[in-house]
Symmetry: C2
Subunit: 210 residues, 2 copies
DNA sequence: TGTACATCAGTGAACGCGCGTTCACTGATGTAC
DNA sequence: TGTACATCAGTGAACGCGCGTTCACTGATGTAC
């Protein structure tokens, strides 16, 4: 599955060296998906997978944690895209939109478990000292996704489909439930989940009527 | 904080070499607590911290993952002890017992965040191939804790303090909520949690009355 | 139009490090005779 | 009671490996004159 170096890499034209940056991130995300292990995403393995020499990465990233941050940012952006696609397909029903968001979230975690664990596992963060990644880089990552959820729950409340009286707090609680399920599914081998566990969590935490 | 080797280690008497096994696990747990990073628990760092030579570990564990499994088992046992202590202090009220369990769980995750992430993070599991740790070793780890929660919820139902009609499924949902909160708190730097987020999760997911 | 040159993308070799694991060993101590 | 010996706990040196990072470099290409 690793890129074979049968052809020499054709260099990017002047002024477009930035393209390699994207290729590096793509290769790193690919490694994460294949191995499911953030520790497998090393500068050398990324370079091998992208078909470049390891030092070439330093033209685009100051150090290894910076690459991981780019990977996580890319994964959050991708998750947001998927959620919006699900929203667009969900129609107008406030309840349908909220459920679509939640299920899209769980789907993403299940189909990209390595990414999900990396996004939320904090595995790549302990090196906050002596790396180029700052606290601010990390703090705002999930904000847009939380905003999507808040909006969906508020619409449910407005339509009388949720009895919640505190959209923000209940959204946090709902997200925590989703995260607990998503993370555990992404981390453990097998578990005797009740078949309706997702609906149970969503319905309860969103205070959906009926 | 590392053990200084001013005195030579006094060897364990015959037949009690097994003592070192416990010292190794204790040192490994200590490293996990200090660094918060499962990757920092290497055979060499454990040996340094225990004041022994690295190869000595092989008298007691077949390989490095086996040490991590022992660490995780020890952490689960410790968590159970803490939960039972909380239960004993909680008195007879079914609701008080359930809340004590949940808060004990959250407390443990907050005060031992490195351990908690390792217990549930699956970080040490990817090496299930070519290591001595088997799937079965991993599968049953959290069972006793889940059993404590099921029992507490069933007592609430029997006392009319919970409207749940499916103790098992609702316990799984409750635990998922607890896990989501515990894990996220243990992984992220800071987050604007609603102050009552724990009570909100517990009350909702356990279907407590009022 | 031709040419020297600065710029830029990317490389190959090398560094020092910590790791897991192996190997042959040391030396204290309990036990068989 | 004395002594040879097997057993056991633990060691020191060494291995090969992959890692992040550094350094001086190559060679294509756009640009100034």
């Amino acid at each position: 599955m690793a890129a074979s170096r049968t052809t020499t890499r054709t260099r990017n034209p002047r002024g477009e060296g930035g393209r390699l940056r994207d290729e590096i991130v793509t290769a790193a995300v690919g490694l994460l998906d294949e191995t499911g292990d953030a520790n497998a995403v090393t500068l050398r393995s990324v370079a091998r997978s992208a078909g470049i020499a390891a030092p070439s990465i330093y033209r685009h990233f100051p150090d290894q944690p910076a690459v991981m941050l780019a990977v996580v940012r890319s994964a959050f952006a991708d998750l947001e895209v998927q959620l919006r696609i699900g929203l667009d397909a969900a129609g107008e029903s406030p309840r349908g939109r909220l459920v679509a968001l939640c299920e899209g979230y769980l789907d993403y975690a299940r189909t990209h478990s390595g990414r999900y664990r990396t996004m939320f596992g904090g595995v790549w963060m302990p090196d906050l000292h002596d790396s180029s990644v700052t606290r601010e880089d990390v703090a705002t990552l999930g904000d847009t996704i939380m905003a999507l959820l808040v909006d969906a729950l508020e619409r449910c409340i407005a339509a009388g489909e949720s009895t919640s009286t505190d959209a923000h707090s209940d959204t946090v609680a709902l997200w925590l439930g989703l995260h607990g399920l998503a993370h555990q599914r992404a981390s453990t081998v097998a578990f005797p989940w009740p078949p309706d566990i997702a609906e149970r969590l969503i319905g309860t935490l969103a205070h959906l009527t009926e």
